[in-house]
Amino acid sequence: MRFFLLTTAIVLRIITDLLITAVMPETPKTVFYLVMLIVSAYAVNAGLEPIGRLSELVSPLVVLVLLLSLALNVNHLKLENLKPVFQLSMREDLQNSLLPGGLYGICIIMGVFMAYHNNPKDTLKAKLGGVVTGTLLIILNLLMVIMVFGVNLCTQLQFPLYSLAQMIEVGDFFERLELLVMIFWIAAGFLSITMLYYVSTLGFAQLLKLPDYKLLTPFIGVAVFILTMTMFRNITDTDALFEGIFPYLALSVEGGLTTLLFFVSLFRYGKKPIQIKKRG
């Protein structure tokens, strides 16, 4: 649960950093945190169904915009930028893939949702589908960014994908579409914040054996708010976290702890088929 809380705060922080750097440098961060958390709290109290429907509505749009922003950059593509492949050794490759691995781990919150699903058997399929789509999109993104900017520049940009959106040009008139694209990313980020928020609230409510999780929402919101405010000093800290600690933390919590709990529960309940409730 605490892990989810932390992740909520982190995601919130990342989105706000992007916003502030790229769009509105003069607005205090607090405002963004507050507004996002309040709307998110509204969503959390609305319950799982509206959140689910919201993502049903927003995610196709996000994917569409993402694909569109990639497609409209086709004229900037340089295929040869991709070469050479596999420059690094296997070890380095693995190390570099830790971060995406850690972020994918967030998918385990779907495990929490499983209990609330109409037919839990389908969730695995949905989960796998989601992960696969996400992976494909990320790979596509990486390829595009590299193909457009080349390896050198894109490692030096703070938000390569945003710069990619900046490159879009449709028929000489629609040029600066990056904001539009970014708005959709924020929407997607908002969704993940809301889901993480929901899960942490629910988790804490279960922990405290509260009858109604909605009572907890404001408190969790305040907690996330404080965490977000105090977590990092500046953007380089965020980067450091992502390159250093987070993947290990995330993977150990997501992979290790869950597996451990699984085995513990196996041990305790014998070999009876039981429904496993995953907890972060």
Binding site: E26, N152, Q166, K214, L215
Partner: protein
């Protein structure tokens, strides 16, 4: 229900906060100085001077019935200086009374002195600023950038858009280079490549002492420092190698009357830089496909038959080869600088070998063996077959 009313309450508070204090990033259009072009110079005292063209929206309004003077200039040119670019930009407020608004900048012109001292500060500032676009054109001025910014346009009310058109249409001539912020950055940050940026200069035209802007040739940079110029001829050589020739005119002598000329219009070109390994030595082939149409002939020979076309194709091949070779010679012998992108090509094809040579590539490059291969084709002869009856 309690949670809901809480949210409503929070929203209420929030709206009060937002209404009372909320204008952090709000900017009204009439408070902005919309910049069309920026010129960056370095003075003798190492201070940076910015010259900008600020658009005057009032002057560009559609002339109303009360007859606004159509002659009024659409831009206002102001200068400001400071120790850094950011400093200089902020110092504009002293003079303009409005904050400079840069996202609509069409062209960045870098002065010669600034370019010779290094353009890293320019690139860094423009990339870091969230408002800038990566697709802003970059030019290097021969002389002072401020002179270019001050230059007037006979056609456009905003001289910057005149510059922009010039850059965008460079392809009709292929005698200069168009590069935007992103391309320049990419070439600077890439291991082996070096930027070549279009050259803009202000010349006195012959008659009435009017000055005009000319986009011709290009500046060659070693990483971020300007080290020399390419003339239009060499520039096209550069463009051939980069595969960036879109159109242009190749003039060749008539096969039988060498004093008279034939113009060929380039329709399509394609370039491949192929490195290959021969006995552990890196060798390069630059293969260029040129496809052109007959655009003009000053002589009256009948060229519209296969034999003559073949002759013309051969002459075209020679002409293109000459341009490319001239560029290669200049790069290898004069500048000793890999502006051709040979290093990059090596890195892509033979990463292992590249790792060996990349440290001493500056010494290796001038010795590299480059073979130029031009496949020349002539496809159409225009609306006319030939005017041989005039004989």
């Amino acid at each position: 229900m309690r949670g809901k009313s809480g949210v409503v309450f929070l929203l209420l508070i929030l709206s009060v906060i937002l209404l009372t204090t909320g204008c952090w990033n709000r900017k009204e259009l009439d408070r902005l100085a919309i910049v069309a072009a920026v010129g960056i110079d370095k003075g003798e005292d190492q201070k940076i001077t910015l010259t900008v063209q600020v658009i005057k929206p009032e002057a560009l309004k559609r002339p109303s019935s009360e007859g606004g003077s159509g002659k009024e200039k659409g831009v206002w040119i102001i200068k400001s200086s400071g120790n850094t670019i950011f400093d200089a930009v902020r110092n504009f407020v002293e003079k303009s009374g409005r904050k400079l608004f840069l996202p609509h900048t069409m062209v960045i012109v870098i002065g010669e002195k600034m370019a010779k001292d290094g353009v890293i500060p320019v690139i860094d500032w423009f990339l870091r600023d969230h408002e800038m676009r990566l697709q802003t054109w970059v030019l290097v001025a021969q002389g002072e950038a401020s002179e270019v910014i001050k230059g007037d346009s006979g056609l456009e009310k905003i001289p910057a858009s005149h510059l922009e058109r010039m850059i965008e249409d460079y392809g009709a001539l292929s005698k200069s280079v168009s590069s935007n912020l992103m391309e320049v950055t990419n070439m600077i940050t890439c291991q082996s490549s070096h930027p070549v940026i279009g050259r803009i200069s202000k010349n006195k035209s012959g008659q009435d002492d009017e000055e005009e802007l000319i986009l011709k040739g290009a500046g060659v940079f070693r990483k971020d420092r300007l080290i020399g110029w390419l003339n239009p001829f060499e520039t096209r050589g550069y463009l051939w190698i980069k595969g960036k020739v879109k159109s242009g005119v190749i003039t060749i002598p008539c096969p039988e009357h060498p004093d008279q000329l034939i113009s060929l219009e380039i329709i399509k070109s394609k370039t491949k830089v192929k490195p290959r390994l021969e006995m552990g030595m890196l060798k390069y082939t630059i293969e260029v496909d040129v496809n052109s149409n007959l655009g003009e002939q000053m002589c009256t020979e009948d060229l519209a038959n296969p034999e003559m076309i073949a002759v013309l194709e051969d002459e075209q091949r020679q002409a293109v080869e000459k341009e490319i070779v001239a560029l290669i010679r200049k790069a290898q012998e004069e500048y000793k600088l890999d502006i051709l992108g040979l290093g990059e090509a090596t890195m892509r094809e033979f990463p292992k070998e590249w790792n060996k040579v990349k440290e001493q590539w500056a010494e290796e490059f001038p010795q590299a063996e480059v073979e130029v291969k031009v496949n020349s084709r002539l496809s159409l002869t225009g609306m006319l077959k030939s005017l041989k009856t005039l004989k």
